[in-house]
């Protein structure tokens, strides 16, 4: 994505015309100027969706964190993205759309499968998957559509953990992307409504089959754990299990791939950063954190107010919607020095790319592991890289995505071993 920070015309856009809903803003990279302006002049910003639902935007780091950490005042059960500001039909029934105490019933047994410890244990297998995915492509060199290739990275990270067999790894990421951005021409099959319906049908068909298998033969994966857990004194029903499978797949696919693409693009455009990493591969962990801050694949997270609250000095009543813009928080100049600079060595980096609070990303550890492994393979196999054609961005106010990223890759002549962990 174009990471244009504010330039001399930084305040040219009057507040009145700032529309954070409009998906085309994100397609053209115009969100950063708007967020910068709002952080400075209007930290609580009301506007309406095209359907007439009012939402209040918070853009400063401290306000975004405060909203996400106070789940007793800000509910997830109504829906967490602007596209369903009217209310999500899965509300209250799947991990990311539940409040306490039910939320913990699902989160506690599943988080064990993707803890930092579990993700590290799994790293050798994940490394093999990553090598299978990128090894030959990088070694062959030439122009690679990184956006297309990276779509498959999330399955390398958590396919087995969720319980998805490799034969669905190829098709599933596109369906997931169509499900999150049905309006984008890159993933569309007919109208947005048709695209969404097809994506859901295909995903549900795959999940239903796997649920049947796991009922017969449970193993140690998310699907099996969902089947066995105690959901407020009863097992989950079929629909609840399906919705949770959907949440885990969407949570992994729509985010991890985008961070990977943004990372590769950032390096392809910044020879100095690439050189620094080649010089000191021990920067891989900080570079991964910087790529998370930089990409912030979920632009916003929506919440519904449960009790009267004060947000950045403005009183907001129960029933109102608040959008916490993590993409903006991660460019907040009061927290991140030189926020529009991609710095692979950035050390203090308290980014909110994984959110914070009750719903903080459960898949963070495997995502960090797979991004580190990808970067290690890139460093071991590639001499230099350069953007080689038009880069296109996802038409979505929710996911900060790249749909095409042609990169010319020059392979190294003798491979260097680069293994950090």
């Amino acid at each position: 994505m174009r990471m244009d920070g504010p330039t001399s015309d930084e305040f040219a856009e009057p507040l009145e015309t700032i529309d954070l809903y409009d998906p085309t803003r994100y397609e053209t990279g115009a969100q950063h100027r708007a967020w910068h302006r709002l952080r400075r002049d209007a930290p609580v910003w009301p506007q309406e969706t095209p359907d007439g639902h009012r939402f209040w935007s918070v853009t400063r780091y401290r306000d975004v964190a405060a909203v996400l950490m106070d789940d007793k005042s800000f509910s997830s059960a109504h829906g967490t993205i602007l596209a369903v500001a009217a209310g999500d039909s899965a509300g209250g029934r799947t991990i990311n759309l539940m409040d306490q105490p039910r939320h913990a019933d699902v989160r506690l047994p599943t988080m064990r499968l993707m803890s930092t410890h579990a993700a590290r244990q799994r790293a050798p297998q994940v490394r093999e998957h990553v090598r299978r995915l990128v090894g030959e492509r990088f070694d062959a060199g030439g122009v690679i559509d990184i956006a297309e290739l990276m779509l498959h990275l999330p399955m390398a990270a958590v396919g087995e953990t969720i319980g998805l067999p490799p034969d669905v790894w190829t098709a599933l990421p596109r369906w997931a992307m169509a499900g999150v951005a049905p309006e984008d021409p890159h993933f569309a099959e007919g109208s947005a409504a048709d695209t969404l319906k097809k994506a859901h049908h295909r995903l549900i068909a795959v999940f239903s089959e796997l649920i049947k298998e796991r009922r017969a033969r449970p193993t140690d994966d998310v699907i099996s754990v969902l089947l066995g857990l105690d959901f407020g004194g009863r097992p989950m029903d079929q629909r609840e299990i399906l919705l949770n499978c959907y949440s885990f797949v969407m949570g992994s696919v729509t985010t991890t791939a985008q961070v990977a693409s943004h990372l590769v693009q950032a390096l392809a455009e910044r020879p100095a950063a690439w050189a620094a990493l080649r010089e000191s591969p021990d920067l891989v962990p900080t570079a991964v954190e910087e790529s998370l801050r930089w990409a912030s694949p979920t632009n916003h997270l929506l919440r519904r107010v449960l009790r009267p609250v004060e947000v950045a000095g403005t009183r907001i009543e129960p029933g109102e919607l608040v959008a916490a813009w993590v993409g903006s928080a991660n460019r907040d100049e009061t927290v991140f020095p030189r926020p529009y600079e991609f710095d692979p060595a950035r050390s203090a980096n308290p980014h909110l790319a994984f959110g914070v609070g009750a719903h903080r990303c459960i898949g963070g550890p495997p995502a960090q592991v797979v991004l580190g492994l990808l970067l290690e393979e890139l460093l071991a196999r590639v001499e230099s890289l350069e953007v080689a054609g038009p880069v296109t961005h996802l038409r979505s106010n929710f996911i900060n995505g790249i749909t095409a990223l042609p990169v010319a890759v020059a392979p190294v002549r003798t491979r260097r071993p680069v293994v950090i962990s």
Binding site: A65, M69, D70, D71, K72, Q100, P101, H103, A104, R107, L108, M111, R112, S115, T116, H117, R120, P350, V356, G357, A358, H359, R360, I362, P365
Partner: protein, 66 residues
């Protein structure tokens, strides 16, 4: 003298990192992403009490005695 006992029930902790953020230095997440109080936790009681209130699953307990 007042002593303060700060504990985290790891079976309830959902790894929200809320305590790590609002009481910086007083809590860390272990390798299973469950929180535990650090040796400095006693020095920022305001932060720790805020964490206790915000903790989504009431996993943090602050007990004063003496």
């Amino acid at each position: 003298m007042t002593t303060v006992d700060i504990t985290v029930d790891k079976d309830r902790c959902v790894g929200s990192a809320t305590c790590v953020v609002v009481a910086a230095g007083s809590f860390v997440l272990d390798e299973h992403d469950r929180s535990e109080p650090t040796s400095q936790a006693g020095s920022d009681l305001d932060g720790v009490e805020q964490a206790e209130q915000l903790c989504p699953t009431a996993a943090i307990r602050v007990v004063r005695s003496g």
